[in-house]
């Protein structure tokens, strides 16, 4: 028990900040008069996230530590991904602050602190050193997300989204947990490092492989990759826009954090009977490769047919998950680096796009892409910003999206043998994605304005848009800004326990 008190709790400062913010906001929400606007709560939550971000940044130079019997690790990997999670969370909270559904925004306070809880879950995932904490923290994120999806109690779309999310999420959780139970059974421990060591001597390769597949399918729910991608469009469409933005960025990042923590730690050195007897992960590489390829293809192709902006961005996010999974499948030395850069870029470009979509939904009550028509005429800067985000999502150079995607490409082809097929699939599906991204540009710039001019962007959204635009441009033109940060983690040499 002594450990609990002697542990270096300051290592968890960001988590404490987020937790405290959530609880304080919860309490304020409780005692606040009903008719008062909850907008400041969302701003407060965003401030909390920013504070946690600063705290995390301040801890970057610290040596890796692990406390509480290795259940909580603060290594470079945790810090790096917490930066992304917190940045994404803070930006999503800005969207929450300006969330204006037509039935009124009474639940904004709830929205804000539920999102903080979800964020906390995601952060804990990044720091987990134990199967148990990993599971609990990812579930914290997932369960909070269910609530976020169904927050508009009176809107059927929101209800339906929440229900579908719960059902699919429950199945995913069960499958993942089933896989975890086998891993536990083969090793008798829940500590990731111990598991990795124990697995090296295991003589049950088949059960291990089964566990691998179960975990992979379970995790693919969080990533929204094939074969567990189909829930995403429905949930993204039904959920409130800030929640969708949060899912597409923070949940996805958390999913990849989980993927890396779990698979790289446990399976990288596990024995196998395949092409690479020394590593189950490498043996299973073809499986992951095929899934990544399918995800890119399905996400990009089906997106071609969408007219709902949120749905379109949902398919696009599936596609991006595919790119990321491809980066994982390559298993090069640049794997974690390239995923980090990509996710960072993705935070900016995707939340930026969602911020503008949120404004359009707020103003027009619909998310049909015709709502973008003629935006350039009335709000040229807004249109330019959205154009920038879309070009970035499409991976056009001069934006963050290109730098990130290029690094993924490097990762794909630097290995021996290179993943040329996967790289080609990625390149070709990127071109397919041009069609729907540029279709939005066509709406923005070519179509005549049909609706009344939109009002000016409210403060929260404009802050988010400006920050995202700056981020997108900065990484696009001065990528060293991001790579310098990345360099501080020394290619995550301290990742393995």
């Amino acid at each position: 028990m002594n450990d609990v008190w002697q542990a270096n709790w300051s290592m968890m400062t960001p988590e404490w900040i987020v937790l405290a913010a959530a609880i304080v906001l919860l309490l304020i929400d409780l005692v606040m008069p009903k008719e008062r606007s909850r907008r400041p709560l969302a701003w407060g939550a965003a401030a909390g996230a920013v504070l946690a971000l600063i705290a995390t940044a301040a801890m970057i130079p610290a040596d890796p530590v692990s406390i509480l019997h290795d259940t909580f690790r603060l290594d470079g990997f945790a810090k790096a991904f917490k930066l992304i999670l917190l940045a994404g969370g803070a930006l999503a909270l800005l969207l929450v602050a300006e969330w204006e559904p037509k039935e009124g925004s009474h639940y904004r306070g709830e929205f804000a602190y539920m999102m903080l809880f979800a964020l906390l879950g995601a952060m804990m995932t990044a720091s987990s050193g134990d199967l148990l904490t990993l599971f609990v923290s990812i579930e914290l994120l997932t369960v909070s997300s269910y609530v976020l999806a169904g927050l508009r109690k009176t809107a059927t779309a929101s209800n339906e989204a929440a229900l579908k999310y719960v059902i699919n999420g429950g199945i995913a959780t069960a499958i993942m947990l089933f896989g975890m139970s086998y891993v536990f059974g083969l090793t008798g421990t829940t500590n990731l490092g111990d598991i990795a060591r124990e697995l090296q001597e295991t003589n049950e390769p088949y059960m291990l492989a089964l566990a691998f597949l179960l975990l992979l399918i379970g995790v693919s729910f969080k990533l929204a990759t094939v074969p567990f991608h189909m829930w995403a469009p429905d949930v993204y469409e039904g959920a409130p826009v800030p929640a969708t933005a949060f899912f597409s960025v923070v949940s996805k990042t958390a999913g990849f954090v989980l993927l890396l923590r779990l698979f790289v730690t446990i399976f990288a050195a596990a024995p196998a009977e395949g092409r690479d007897p020394s590593s189950l992960l490498l043996s299973m590489q073809p499986v992951i490769t095929v899934l990544a390829g399918l995800t890119m293809i399905i996400g990009n192709v089906v997106a071609l047919r969408q007219r709902s902006l949120k749905r379109l961005l949902a398919y696009s996010s599936i596609a991006h998950a595919g790119y990321l999974l491809a980066g994982f499948a390559a298993m090069s030395w640049a794997m974690i680096d390239s995923l980090w850069i990509y996710l960072l870029a993705y935070v900016f470009m995707n939340i930026g796009a969602f911020a503008i979509v949120a404004h359009i939904v707020n103003e027009t009550g619909s998310d049909d892409l015709a709502g973008l028509a003629g935006l350039y005429r009335h709000r040229p800067l807004l249109a330019a910003a959205l154009g920038l985000f879309l070009l970035s999502l499409a991976g056009i150079p001069g934006t963050a999206g290109f730098i990130a995607k290029f690094y993924l490409f490097i990762g794909l082809v630097v290995t021996e043998p290179g993943h040329y097929v996967l790289a080609t699939v990625m390149a070709v599906t990127t071109v397919v994605s041009y069609v729907y991204y540029f279709n939005l540009l066509v709406q923005l710039f070519f179509r005549p304005a049909s609706l009344a001019p939109l009002r000016r962007l409210p403060a929260g959204l404009s802050t988010a848009v400006v920050l995202c635009a700056l981020g997108t441009l900065a990484i696009g033109w001065v990528p060293d800004l991001a790579y310098d940060v990345l360099a501080q983690f020394g290619h995550f040499g301290d990742f393995l326990p």
């Binding site: 499958i175 089964l210 009977e273 499986v287 047919r305």
Partner: protein
Amino acid sequence: MMNLAWVVPLFPLCSFALLLLFGRKWKKASAYVGIVATLLSLLAALGVLAGRLGGTTYEANWTWMQIGDVTLTAGFSVTALNAWMLVVVAFVSWLVHIYSQGYMAGDERFSTFYAYLGLFTFAMLGLVLSPNLLQAYIFWELVGLGSFLLIGFYFYKEEAKAAAKKAFIMTRIGDVGFFIGMLLLFWQTKSFDYDDIFRAVGDGTLSPGMTTLTAILIFIGAIGKSGQFPLHTWLPDAMEGPTPVSALIHAATMVAAGVYLVAALFPLYEASEAAMMTVAVIGGVTAIFAATIGLVQTDIKRVLAYSTISQLGYMMLALGSGSYVAAIFHLTTHAFFKALLFLAAGSVIHAVHTQNIEEMGGLWRRLPWTAPLFLVGALSISGVPLFAGFFSKDEILAAAWLNGSVELFWLAVAAALLTSFYMFRLFFLVFTGEARHDGDAHEAPMSMVGPMVVLGVLSVASGYIQTPWFGSFLGEWLTDGAYHHEAAPGWIAVVATIVSLVGILLAWLMYGKRTVPRDWLSARAPHGYELLRRHYYVDDFYRWTVVALVSFISRLLAYVDRYLVEGIVRLVTGTVSAAASAGSRGQNGQAQTYGAVTVAGLAILVVIFALTGGYWL
């Protein structure tokens, strides 16, 4: 003076540039610009000739383009041949410039006409001065441009448009042969220079096969430009251009460029028996072929055009028979008498405003200058003794005979007979008998008559530079004194004289005295007559073969492009689009379907895993 030879083509170029820029303002004065420019050219050319008389060959080169270590040069050279040609070209051009002042008077685009004439003269002089094949090719095409522009001068006439296009394209076909031959030759000799090529021929660097091939390819260019069979069809159509143009370009100078080219490359041809044979045969066949067509044409300019083709065939025959001098000699005399004939024809057309000889007649009195001058030209071309044409034609016949090709010799004799016949058919129809046209016909102004008189004098006099009697000045000049006149059997001259007189007699009987009915041929051999009237159906043959084939391939490719190439693209985009629809439909909104898909995915992975004993690959 020779080092300044490059200024010769420069004056007409200046004229072209000035008239293009300011011609609209200067209007009638444009003619003087052109006339003065060509006169200066002529004087310079005479200077060059004089310089060459006292000196030897002069050549100057500058870098035109470097390709790696290879340097392509541009420059000029003054040899006996081109000094001579310079004078001929500049002189005829000058005369035509003067003549046009009267002929083109009143035309809306008077200055444009002079600008184009300037361009053509520049190109022609440039062609003559070229010291290498590439430069020759460049000017070769530029003279084609001048010809094209001038044929299409009456651009609003559909016929002129078609003729201009045809002239350009038909000669282009020949040019491509030239182009290919030239480039092939380049990689054999690493140079375009005539001298280098001759050296390569001389020292055997050039294999006999390659010599023949390149010589024939280049000859294809000459065929196109000189209207030789089978690429002759553009030349009669080119008569759509103003008549002075026909005189200058399509009689005296440009069409003779083919002859000039072969002459300039003569050592290359001499090295190949087969090439020489080709040249001779094409020349001989063309001579008789065009002459037969000329028999039945009713358009005064077309008769002259076919006659030109036929005469060019003669020159080719001379070249092919190895008599370079005879060819150039005939080229020179032909330039004068054919220009004369054309200018006279122009004068006739100017007077009666028609080109159809059926609608002329009895013009002898009305055109007191033109008619005798035309007669002089006709006598000269028919080879009547003492006229220039007699001497040069005699040389060619002698060359053919001495070369041993008896068939070609008799072919040429037959062509000579036909020539005198159709020329006098023309003469009698136009100038004798009763007038078959209404309205007044007046003699042309002095600006037109003057040049004709000069040409008339030359049509007689130019024959005496190379005669069996007074010596062979031209031959010695062209060969730098190495010329020795091979004595031809005397009977050849007699035969030539006889056939030309017989031709004239026949024409007189048929069209002058009318003792032989005019429909003698058409009545006896209607098909043969029709064959000639329709120019042996060559045009139709091309239309139904080459043009149809190209058109067919083009249509086929259009379908390929639209349906196959685009079809594949459509297929791909359609497939993606269909996949998008299918994927979108598959997303049916049922949460349990989504779960089922996942489980199915898991099941597939597990089954594969189980079947492959664990792992892929």
